[in-house]
């Protein structure tokens, strides 16, 4: 590994977007067979850098060398031709095409334009098997797969090119621990074959686990280049990224007052073919976590409680009053809020400015007789984005121009703004950097202290166990365990999940 020179060198890369210097002279060099991690806060420029590399963006300045030769990646096609394939942060699937077709999009095995369908299926099956996901049907339409499934297809696509360099922009964000393990196994195989990997993640333990070297970006600049992972302590990485010291701080758990009223009451809730018999009570000031594997049905439970899906059985009560099944407006009126799992598809108006996205669920609060007070809206949004450290600051820019992690903060801000009685958070910190993560934990905790009943779903067990007062473990659409969060550890949860699956 050490012997060869860098396969990729990027020097002084500058990329300017209207109003933002997203990259301001970035350097990166990657050697064959290494896993090179890119670290940086939300909005630091990681995704932009890899888009420059993959030909999706054209840099305004800077030089790119591939195998020592200067090159320009004028189109994504050119980058692919050179042997660079990319897993983008935002899922880039075509929902109407099958898994196999998505994997081979743009380079379908074909003779005279006719697709070799058998060949394509076979190759896809092999790839998926290699990744440990032979359960994904190659003929299934990708739009029907859950986010994790789509992410795996996206990885399969990157592998299908047999590239020399594979760029992975937060591939683990939507995956659970098991799937992340599968991914790491694949990465190890690749590097063993001499393929280089650029890996982006906000989960520092992952970087410790697979990374060889780290480059850290801050505000569009390289602040550290090619640090060896093994010898660099986590605290230093965090400091490089944020300029401050941060630890995973889950706010102090405060014991619930004995008379804290039950706010959310779920009784025997069921959704056809997905889950059944789900019951829980969440008291004012309590944070309940739902743990489980991807596909266990946790999101569906939240969405059904919220009325976004019509329950096939059971009841939901808020403050003792029963909610009309299948009606989101009824739930919202009763004071329930849901920060959904997929920010782009389910939450954001990408064309609209940040403030309008934040106030969308609280329009009543900013209006009199239907007329909006925009100044008031802006003020409230500015306060929130400041406290969540959304970058860049301006609340007037279209939310679609924010980095992924910052978009996630905007989604959260929407529900923090609304005075909810019940807050349902689905993967609240997906793609959020370490700094903001602790802010979010603190915010959720302080909301609870103000008497809000919170339900959190997260694929990061550490997060569920650290943030929640009480944990429900979900497997195969059933609640297999319920108890205080501090009386159970990650291994126990995993065991329960496995057992539940086996049962």
């Amino acid at each position: 590994m050490e012997a060869t020179g860098p396969i990729l060198e990027m020097h002084g890369i500058v990329k300017v977007f209207p109003g933002v210097r997203a990259l301001d002279g970035v350097d990166l060099d990657v050697r064959p067979g290494e896993v090179h991690c890119l670290l940086g806060q939300n909005g630091a420029g990681k995704s932009t850098l890899i888009k420059v590399l993959s030909g999706a963006h054209q840099p305004d300045e800077g030089e790119l060398r591939w195998n020592g030769e200067p090159v320009t990646m004028s189109t994504p096609f050119a980058a692919i031709e050179h042997g660079i394939s990319t897993i983008y942060q935002e899922l880039d699937m075509v929902p109407g095409l099958s898994v196999a077709e998505n994997v081979h999009l743009g380079h379908e095995p074909a003779r005279a334009g006719f697709i070799g369908r058998a060949e394509m299926r076979r190759a896809t099956r092999e790839l998926l098997a290699r990744m440990g996901h032979d359960e994904i049907p190659v003929d299934r339409e990708v739009g029907m797969l859950p986010a994790a499934g789509q992410q795996i297809v996206s990885i399969a696509r990157a592998l299908s090119h047999h590239s020399r360099l594979i760029v992975m922009d937060e591939p683990s964000a939507v995956l659970d621990q098991q799937e992340v393990e599968n991914l790491f196994r694949v990465i190890e195989q690749l590097t063993a074959e001499g393929v280089a990997v650029v890996y982006i993640s906000h989960r520092l333990e992952e970087i410790r686990r697979v990374g060889d070297r780290v480059t850290v970006l801050k505000d569009g600049r390289t602040v550290a280049s090619g640090l060896p992972v093994e010898t660099t302590p986590t605290s230093e990485l965090i400091h490089l990224m944020t300029g401050r010291e941060i630890e995973y701080v889950f706010g102090e758990r405060v014991p619930l007052p004995a008379d804290a009223p039950v706010v959310l009451e779920v009784e025997d809730l069921a959704l056809a073919d997905t889950f059944s018999g789900v019951s829980m009570q969440v008291r004012a000031g309590e944070i309940v976590g739902l743990a489980g594997l991807v596909g266990a049905g946790r999101s569906e439970i939240l969405e059904t409680v919220y009325g976004a899906r019509r329950a096939s059985g059971g009841r939901v009560r808020v403050d003792g009053r029963r909610l009309r099944a299948g009606s989101v407006p009824a739930a919202v009126k009763a004071g329930v809020g849901l920060a959904p799992e997929e920010r782009k598809a389910q939450a954001l108006l990408l064309d609209q400015p940040v403030d309008r996205n934040i106030t969308l669920a609280s329009l009543a609060r900013f209006s009199t007789g239907g007329f909006l007070d925009s100044a008031d809206e802006r003020r409230a949004s500015e306060d929130l984005t400041a406290s969540l450290d959304v970058r860049p600051r301006g609340v007037q820019r279209p939310v679609g121009t924010l980095s992924g992690g910052n978009q996630q903060k905007v989604v959260l801000a929407r529900w923090l703004l609304r005075d909810c009685r019940v807050l349902l958070l689905d993967e609240p910190t997906r793609g959020v950097d370490v700094g903001a993560r602790s802010e979010i934990y603190a915010l959720v905790r302080s909301l609870a202290e103000r008497g809000v009943a919170v339900v959190v779903v997260s694929s990061e067990l550490e997060e569920v166990l650290g943030l929640a007062d009480r944990v429900l473990v979900v497997a195969e659409g059933r609640v297999v365990h319920e108890g205080p969060a501090d009386e159970i550890d990650e291994h126990q949860v995993l065991d329960m999940v496995m057992e539940g699956n086996a049962a």
Partner: protein, 346 residues
């Protein structure tokens, strides 16, 4: 997954080349200043051509009022259409609804009743018909789940057929002079029709940009799923959008009845195309989520001025058609140039 594909991250990138058609849609709508600047320039150039070729004939007050008067009926429909398109829908039935409302408002029965009481009956009837048709459209689309294109295509056929049956394919002439005089009158030199258009446009602007209704319209059109999960009753809102457009068609029917002193099943022919064209050229995104009332007003004026200039120049209708196509394309390219420039300026 697919909706957001419209807004590729690349949109904002000033110089970057590979822009997909969809991405362009986004760019086209650019910043609101830039967008309207382009339209203003297109309109000014058109006026320049008018003055150059037809001189004082073009640039006199009467001619301006003629243009505005011609713009007013389709203008009112286009304002309503702006809402429906911004909200992610489309309505092909507007012309047919105008026809049906004009016919219903001028039947013997209605006119007799109006004579016995007040001409407001005529107006009320037209509005009621427009709102009723809009309601049916909205219900079919929001609750029946019929695709807007198909639902309103069906309404187009049915409403025009019904108009023919009611009118027995005759042109019904309005006898109520008060009605005609009122709507053909002027206030301070501004024709009543133009005034109505101005009021509808102003109200439309406020509604879209300053109220919760408008905000929800953007949300419903931009990402209906997100709107739904934010607690917006997307179905009800969708119904309201079509009802609003129906009401605009009712108003337009009153205006066309007054202007022509007739109600007939042929009124409003091809309004759907004209209105959609005005809305889209104005910068509203056909895919929904972005809309501009000001742009629509410019769109309407551009088309109306165009045919005025053509006529003043005594162009044959075929040559007009060819020129129209070319001018539309040039106007859009121009507008884009401006939109892009102001984009990079932000």
């Amino acid at each position: 997954m697919s909706e957001h594909s419209q807004t590729t991250v690349d949109d904002q990138a000033g110089g970057s080349p590979p822009r997909t058609p969809r991405a362009r849609l986004g760019l086209l709508a650019g910043s609101s200043v830039g967008r309207n600047l382009g339209l203003v320039v297109a309109l000014l150039i058109l006026c320049g051509v008018g003055v150059a070729t037809a001189g004082s004939q073009f640039a006199d007050v009467d001619n301006m009022l003629t243009i505005l008067r011609l713009a007013s009926v389709i203008g009112v429909v286009s304002i309503g259409m702006t809402f429906v398109i911004t909200g992610g829908g489309i309505d092909l039935s507007v012309g047919a609804i105008v026809a049906l409302a004009s016919v219903w408002a001028t039947t013997l029965a209605t006119q007799t009743l109006a004579e016995d009481t007040h001409w407001i009956i005529i107006v009320t009837t037209a509005l009621a018909v427009g709102i009723g048709c809009g309601l049916i459209n909205g219900l079919l689309i929001a609750y029946g789940g019929v695709v807007p294109f198909i639902a309103t295509l069906a309404m187009l056929a049915s409403a025009r057929g019904l108009a023919e049956i009611i009118a027995n394919r005759r042109t019904q002439i309005v006898t109520d002079r008060d009605f005609v005089d009122f709507f053909r009158g002027s206030v301070l030199g501004i024709p009543m029709l133009v005034l109505i258009f101005a009021v509808v446009a102003a109200l439309g602007w406020v509604l879209l940009n300053r109220t919760t209704f408008g905000r929800r319209t953007f949300a419903v059109g931009g990402n209906p799923e997100a709107a739904r999960l934010a607690g917006i009753n997307v179905r009800r809102h969708t119904v309201l959008l079509y009802v609003l457009l129906g009401a605009c068609c009712g108003i337009a029917a009153v205006m066309i009845v007054a202007r022509t002193t007739t109600g007939t099943s042929t009124h409003g022919t091809l309004y759907e195309l004209d209105a959609i064209a005005a809305v889209v050229i104005g910068g509203t995104l056909l895919a929904g989520g972005r809309g501009t009332v000001t742009g629509t007003v410019f769109g309407v004026l551009i088309f109306t001025t165009l045919s005025n200039v053509f006529t003043l120049n005594n162009l044959s209708s075929s040559a007009q058609a060819v020129a129209k196509g070319v001018i539309i394309v040039v106007a859009v390219l121009l507008q884009q140039r401006f939109a892009r420039r102001s984009d990079t300026r932000t």
